[in-house]
Every structure is written in C-alpha cells, then in structure tokens.
C-alpha cells in the first residue's frame, strides 16, 4: 500500500548538485554515478549495476566530492554515495586527484589480471579492456609474478569460471543473492587470494546463471556453449523476443554466418528488466539440429514419406483437405500472426470452428474462463510490483515463468511482499519466495481458493495447470469478483495468449469475439470479405481427436503439436493414424511420422512476428537469421488456401499483423462464464496416492534438445513423498520407489519433502519421468506408490 502511494502520490524531492561545473537536479537518494550519467558524464566502473545494491567493491569510480565548502579528504566511490544538496562533484574530467585515483585503481586491478585477452571470450566487448584503454597506462610497471589459479573451472555444466581474470566486483554473487535468490556462488578467502567460489555441498543449479555471465565485466565467467565461438565483430545482432515461455523477455540474438551462436537478455524495464532465464539464453540449438525438416514431403503409395516440390506438396495437401470435414490444431508456440493465419484458415478455407491451440491438458471450463476473463485483460508486471499480496494457483513461477518469479522475489526482498501458494507440494521456488504454502489434495483446489482473503490490491496469478483441477478456475474467477483482486492467467508456452487473441480456439473469433455472438460473426465476416462464418462453437483438441475416432472429422491441419503432450494420447495417436494430416513442423515428431503431407516451417529465429506475453503485451521480433530459406506458417497457410481456392490473403507477417490490429478487440458483451463445481475429493488408501506434477524449466522439452551443457543444470528427477508416507513405506531420501498405474510405471529416487500426505509428485517431462506418455495423465489421478 505504502509503495503505491509513494510511487503515485508522493512528490519526489529533487536535489541539485554540481558535477564538473554543470548543475543537475536528480531525485533524492540518487547515486552520484547516476547523476553524472544524466549529464552524459561517464565515470568508469565495474561493480556498479543499476539493478543491484551498491557495494563499492572495485573502487574504479572514485571522484572528488565537496559539500558546502568542505571536501572529503580522499576521493569517494561515486557508486555508493547518494547525492546531497550542495554537493560539488569533480570527476576524472576536471579533477586531477580523481583522475590519478582512477588510474591507480586500474593499475591495481591489472596487476593480477592475466594478459590472455586473445583467448578470452570477452575480448572485444570487455569493460576492463575498454576502461584500461581510457583510464589505464600504456605500459605496465608491474615486474612481479602474477597470481595464478587453475583455469577454467566449471561452476556448473554451462558456466565456466576463470579466477585469474576476476576483479572481485561481486556482481555475480550479488546477482545470485539479490535477484535470483540462489546464493550458491560467493566470495571466498581474502586479500589477493580472494576468489569467487561455489559451496561444495550444493551444486550451482540456478535457472538464472546465464545472467551472471552476461553482467560479468571481465571474462571471469563465460558460457560453455559460446566458448571460443566468435568475436563481437563476427556477430550480427538482432533484437528478438524469447519463444520459450509466456514471460515475454526481450532478447538479443547474435548470428554468425546463418547460425545463432548466442542469445543475451535484452533490456526492457517493463518486462524482464535486464534478466532472462537459462532456457531462454541457451536453448536455441533445436533450430540448427541435423534433423531439421527443410523439404516438403508427401506420403506415396507405399506409405513412405518422400521429398516433393512445394507446388506438388501444396497440391497434395489441398486435394486431401478439399471438401473434407477438417480440424486445426495449432500448438502453443505459434506467433500471433501465425495463429491468426491458422484461425482464418480454419474459418475461411476449411469452414470450421474446430480449432484449438491448447496442446496440453485442458478443459472446457478453461476455455470458457479464457473467453470470459483472459482475452483483453491487462494485469501486468507493474501490478505485481504494486500488489499487497500475490496468490499463486496452479502455478510455479520459478519453473513455469521464471521472470515472473524474479519480479515477485524482487518485491519479496524489497518489502516482504506476501505470497500465498495453493499447491500440493511446496516447491523450492516458493520456499525462496517465503510463500505461505497452502497444502491441498490434488484435484480439490477450488474450496481452498474460495476461502482466500484478498484485497482489491492483490494479484491472483493462475497457471495453465489450474485447468487440471475441476472448478479451480471458477473459484478463481469468483474470488477475483468477490475481492476485486487483479487476475492474470499465465500459460507456460509463449504463443498461447497470442493464439487466444487471434481466435485460434473453438469458442472465439479474433479479438475475443464470441463465436455464438451473431454481430461478432458479421463483424469478422465483413472484415474477411466472406459471406458467413461457421456458427457452431468448435471442438476442443480432445474433442477433435474423439471426433476423428468417431468418423466426424476426416482431416487435420497440425502445426507444432506433440500428441504426447495431451491427456489420453493413445486416443490422439489412433485418431492421427485415421485422419488425413497436413503437418507444419520444424523437426520430426510423432505427428510427422503420421503426416500425409509434411510442410517444413521456419523456426522463430528465421522469421519475424510477435508473441503476446501473459500480460497481453506484444513482443515483436525481427528475423535474426536473415538468409534462411524457410517460410513461416502464415505464408504456407496462405499458399495452401490459395491452392484450395478460398484464399486468406495473408501473404506477409506484416499484412497479418495489420489486419489483426484493424479488427481490434471486441467491445460487445463477453461470453458468460458459467461456474463449474469442483469434484469430490478422491479417497486414498494404502499404497495409493494422488498424482501431482508440473514441468520443470529445464527438462526434456523439444525446444531444449541439442544443448547438453544446459541439460546438465536441470534438477535431478525425483519422486517426492511426504514424511508420513516415507515412514509407512520405510524409505529415506535416495531410495528408489516405483509409481505406477494401469498404463505404466516410473521408478525414480525418492525425496521426502513438504507435500500433502495423500499426494505424490513427479516431474512431468524430465528424464525418466514422462508422465503423460507413461500414465496417460499428469495430475489428480490415483497411482500406486511402492518401494522398488
């Protein structure tokens, strides 16, 4: 409450200081180094970082300061001193004392810094190199022997530490402590032997370690996957957006000769500040995998896929779809423009509303919830900053939307923001958020949600897994209505919010227009230049599979969907074998094995477009790999629609974006959300337990393939059970136990943690633990837990 008032109503006190003879007014509390920046005066620095607490570790930013005629006896570190009225500051530009002090510090820093710039990855973009040029001496006076360490050492499989190069600025340790809440890295020893180290007993398993590499002002921390790959002048940099989750990080993609070599966190104060997660930073090799699909293929008479020309493949796809009852499965990874292409293709070309972007466990309740409460809503990161409490429902921020986790943790650290997590298992992320853990039986979250006390200033963050618990989303909507709290739905995949806005779902047309609303249909039909649109509400993805099996749908257009992501994938696979399938994919999958026509599409780095992040904020990006020959989904759908004689007229991404923007948001009545009552709790006896799970950030996801260094920091797959169950089974941490149902079994080491006594937790899609593929379900179902 107080923060909101401070930010909105309090008038900020301004302080006027003189820096190098120029007056500047800055808010009270501003650091001298920032006040100087405002004037365009660059003071050299290493440890200073605007998002980390000041520490004054490197001493490079020394300046001469005088207040009311009294000068500080010695130069002061401008990164730790806030401005005060009447300060007269002289930087290296006007004060010989400051200049000499800075040169002295630089000389000290370089004494033990090795002269290995030619082999250092930072060479060419190194603040130490640059400032040694601006502030250092041409020749070293040091004649002694430099301190040496073994180099480099792995602090994790993806981060390498060269202690010789470290200048002890403490940026990495402050980052891991203050931003990521993973204090696994620290400064050991003192004096000349001081060095960055890791705790021996705890592995450095941070999801954010890449940021420490990025903010290291020297080459002490380097990434294993970019090691010795390129120099800055080799790289063509493009501002991009991250395709891995709905957080919507802005990124920078560096490409050398048509190949993405690295990605860095971009700078967006409203979204990711300057951070991103390791998945966004390092998981990009899937686009250059050896098995990338590059040629269109069609299935010939013998049942084998063979390479075909584009006209031939499009003709085959058109022939297979023409006059058939068809459905469209989009997947959660399409850009807004591509999703709009699918949406329009389904309605105009195929004449159906049977389209669903939810390639995961979903429900009809969720679809109604999305239409009524999520389309067009605008809860933002700023709302988390201002919230007096945050309620997490079916959502693990650290695992499912890491930047949301960083944002919540920032407020937890700054002002002890109250976080409440409704879940069956206490996660490490929620421990770090000091969350009030409300332990529930899997499947009956609704009653607990209804009992929460929130204010109008609270924020409810509900994840896509809430759809797995019947009635949970209804309870969340009711809670938001009752308390006036802000509500945000945070899906895991980057394209879901955009696909929702683009109408790639059975009950909505683009812009959140309900399919059942006649004026809305007329609106869109007029804009698209067609006589009418299909009137019946479309099927959901599981209904589409069921309809194929029932012979009600003959053909499917599938883009980026893995059938193993859906509940009851056996039915899905049977359905896929029966239907005529046009698959738009980047790499082989279970779908491409069954496809009748296979059309290769561009990966995110090879196309332009935009995502909507969970806030509904557009995250547009340009083509990073400019010389790619791959076409985006939209272009291919447009060609296919032309081939079928019912064009969608969306030849370019820009055209789609403009058309969608021109349609705008629906200003009519939103669909009513009929609440769904929750299910009765299932009774659990003996060795039975209710399954609960979520996907970890680093797991066997298809976009993380080919990056071994990243996979090395994934958390180890374990089965989590409660102490009570552990003693009943007679197991301790590390013993293996067997979790099974009628479909299959998973054997993993056990970890005894805070979890509901009736529940058992497994990672949903990690090595050795693929729940949907093994059990056919991922949560809320009864499984048997026995000692192996």
């Amino acid at each position: 409450m107080t923060t909101t008032q401070e930010q909105t109503t309090q008038i900020v006190d301004m302080v006027t200081v003189v820096i190098d003879g120029f007056e500047v007014s800055v808010p009270k509390g501003t650091l001298v180094i920032r006040a100087a920046e405002k004037l365009g005066i660059q003071i050299p620095r290493f440890c200073d970082h605007p998002l980390l607490d000041p520490v004054g570790a490197c001493r490079q930013c020394l300046v001469d300061i005088e207040i009311n005629g009294r000068a500080f006896p010695k130069p002061q570190a401008s990164c730790t001193i806030p401005v005060e009225a009447g300060m007269i500051i002289k930087t290296q530009l006007t004060s010989p004392v400051a200049q000499k002090a800075q040169k002295g510090v630089m000389e000290f820093l370089l004494i033990n810094h090795p002269l290995d710039c030619p082999v250092c990855d930072k060479g060419g973009e190194c603040p130490l190199q640059n400032q040694a040029m601006s502030t250092g001496r041409g020749e070293s006076r040091f004649r002694g022997t430099k301190r040496t360490f073994e180099k480099p050492i792995n602090i994790s499989s993806q981060v390498l530490l060269d202690r010789e190069r470290c200048i002890l600025c403490a940026r990495c340790t402050r980052f891991s402590d203050q931003i990521a809440a993973d204090p696994f890295i620290t400064l050991n020893e003192r004096g000349a032997l001081q060095q960055v180290g890791i705790y021996e007993n705890q592995p450095f398993e941070s999801y954010f370690s890449g940021n420490a590499v990025q903010i290291c002002p020297v080459g002490a921390l380097t990434g294993a996957s970019y090691r010795f790959r390129a120099r800055p002048f080799d790289l063509v940099s493009t501002p991009t957006a991250c395709e891995h989750c709905a957080a919507g990080c802005s990124m920078r993609t560096d490409v050398r000769r048509g190949k993405t070599l690295r990605r860095l966190a971009g700078d967006d104060v409203e979204v990711n500040e300057e951070w991103n997660c390791d998945k966004g930073r390092w998981a990009f090799k899937y686009a250059t995998a050896a098995d990338r699909l590059t040629e269109p293929m069609i299935r010939d008479e013998s049942g084998e896929l063979r390479v075909a020309s584009w006209p031939e493949a499009l003709a085959a796809a058109a022939a297979g779809l023409q006059g058939k009852r068809s459905g469209v499965l989009v997947g959660g990874r399409a850009t807004v423009e591509d999703a709009y292409g699918y949406s329009k293709f389904a309605r105009v070309t195929l004449g159906t509303n049977d389209i669903d972007f939810r390639a995961r466990v979903s429900s009809d309740e969720e679809r109604e919830f999305l239409a009524a409460r999520v389309v067009g809503s605008s809860t933002t990161y700023r709302d988390i900053d201002r919230a007096d409490s945050v309620l997490l429902v079916g959502f693990e921020p650290e695992e499912e939307s890491p930047i949301v986790f960083l944002r919540i943790y920032k407020q937890v650290r700054k002002r002890a923001l109250k976080v409440t997590a409704i879940a069956s298992k206490l996660s490490r992320g929620n421990e770090k958020l000091k969350a009030n853990f409300v332990c529930v039986v899997p499947g009956v979250e609704a009653a607990v949600i209804a009992g929460q006390e929130l204010t109008a200033n609270s924020v409810i963050l509900v994840g896509e897994r809430a759809a797995e618990s019947r009635g949970a989303l209804s309870a969340v909507a009711a809670l938001a209505d009752r308390t006036g709290a802000k509500l945000a739905w945070i899906p895991r995949r980057a394209g879901e919010r955009g696909a929702l806005a683009a109408g790639a779902i059975g009950n909505l047309l683009p812009g959140g227009r309900p399919v059942v609303d006649a004026p809305a249909r007329v609106d869109i039909a007029a804009a698209w230049g067609v006589d009418s649109l299909p009137t019946a509400v479309g099927r959901s993805s599981s209904e589409i599979f069921a309809a194929v099996n029932a012979g009600e749908i003959d053909a499917l257009v599938v883009g980026g969907v893995d059938p193993l992501d859906s509940e009851n994938h056996h039915a899905a696979l049977i359905a896929l074998k029966q239907a005529f399938i046009v698959s738009l994919e980047i790499r082989p999958s279970a779908i491409t094995q069954l496809a009748d026509v296979l059309l290769p599409v561009a990966a995110v780095s090879e196309k332009s477009g935009s995502f909507l992040n969970w806030e509904g904020r557009a995250r547009s990006f340009e083509t990073a790999v400019a010389d790619s020959l791959q076409r985006c989904d939209l272009r291919i759908l447009s060609m296919l629609a032309d081939e079928m004689g019912r064009p969608i007229e969306l030849a370019t991404v820009k055209a789609a974006a403009q058309e969608l923007a021109a349609l705008g948001l629906w200003d009519g009545a939103h669909a009513n959300f009929a609440p769904v009552s929750s299910a009765a709790p299932q009774s659990v006896s003996g060795n039975e337990a209710l399954l609960t799970s979520w996907r970890r950030l680093l797991d066997d996801g298809s976009l993380q393939e080919g990056e071994e260094n990243l996979a090395g920091t994934a958390r180890k797959p374990v089965v989590v059970i409660s102490p009570k169950r552990a003693s009943a089974l007679g197991v301790v941490d590390g013993d293996t136990i067997r979790v099974s149902n009628s479909h299959g079994a998973i054997v993993l080491p056990v970890l005894v943690e805070a979890i509901h006594d009736d529940a058992v937790w497994l990672p949903r899609n990690s090595r050795g633990s693929h729940l949907l593929a093994t059990f056919g379900v991922a949560s809320g179902a009864l499984v048997t837990v026995v000692k192996d």
Binding site: R227, F228, R229, R231, F233, D234
Partner: protein
Amino acid sequence: MAENHDHQIEPMRYDLGLEAVHAAPVTKEGPKSFGAQLQGFWVIFRTMFKKVNTVQYPEVKEPTAPRFHGRHQLNRHPDGLEKCIGCELCAWACPADAIYVEGEANTEDHRISPGERYGKVYQINYLRCIFCGLCIEACPTRALTMTNEYELADDSRSKLIFEKEDLLAPLRQGMLLPPHPMYPDMDESNYYKGEVPGSHPSQESASPVNEVNL
C-alpha cells in the same frame, strides 16, 4: 554573390563548339641528320654490353626481397604444436575481410596448441587479400607470418580460399604432428617464451601420426 544568383537555366547546347578548337598544325621537319641517327643507334649498341635484367620466368625464379609480402604461413612451436590460438585478431585487423577464423577449445585428449584455445577453422581468401601485413602485426603469438611465395594464381575462385592445411608450416626436424600433449612440465607461458627445445619422447607416444615425423 546574391545578385549573380539568378535562377535562369541555360538552355542545352547541342553544338559542342568543335569548330572553335584550333588543331595544332602538323609540320614536317624532314629526316634527321646522319650524326643524330648514329646517336640513337649508339644507345642500342651500348646497351648490348650491359647486364640483362630480364628473367626467364617461370623457368628461372629470382628470390624476392627478404621482407616481400607473400603467402601467409601458420607457424608451429618447436615440438609441432600450432602457434595459432584462434583469437581472430588477424581477422579483426584485416582491412579486406579476407580472413575467417573459428576457435575451439583444446582438451587433454585433443591438443592442437598450447593453452586453452586453438584455431579450428582458418581460411585466407586470396581473392581479397591485399598483402598489407596488418594481420601479421596483429598476431599475438607470431603464429601468422608471411612467406616470400608469390605464385598465387589459380583457375578457380574456390582454390584461392586457402584452408588451414594449405597455410600450416611443414613439420621440421623434431616436430610432431598435433594433436599431442604439451612438453612435460611446461605450460603455455614456456611455449610463448620460446623455452620449448623440441618434442619430447613422451609426446611422441601420444601423437596419433608418428610416421609423419620427418
């Protein structure tokens, strides 16, 4: 200036005014005197006794000036490890963008150069190279030098992109073909200071292609 600044555009003139050009009149001077002609023949006669500069290239090849900028060479340490560390400073210095380098990490099992890094891909495009020698100045390990070889003509563009194998110096007496480990009890700084005398027997057993040892 202002009064001269009128906006009238002068119409295009199609006659080029050639008639106004006065050609210099050709004058016939007549034959030179016999003495003057003899003077001319004397020059020819005198030259017959001078040293001939013509070289019967390509049958005869004259050595170039010792610091002539010819084809590049990637040098080796005395034990055969490559001096190139793949730092790309040569590529950075190159004003013609003729050099392409990709670095890679040395491992214990696969050591190409002393230290952490070696050049995995090294290409010089002699269609672009202007032989300025800035790359040589930039090289921090004296890995890249220029030979006096100037015969760089060829019949296809691709043949003029020299790969690392084309540029590497041959193995001399005492050198072993990498990959092989560093000289025992020495590290990269000993290599850079020139303290490695040659290959050590222990390195030989680890070198995969001993028979190439010349």
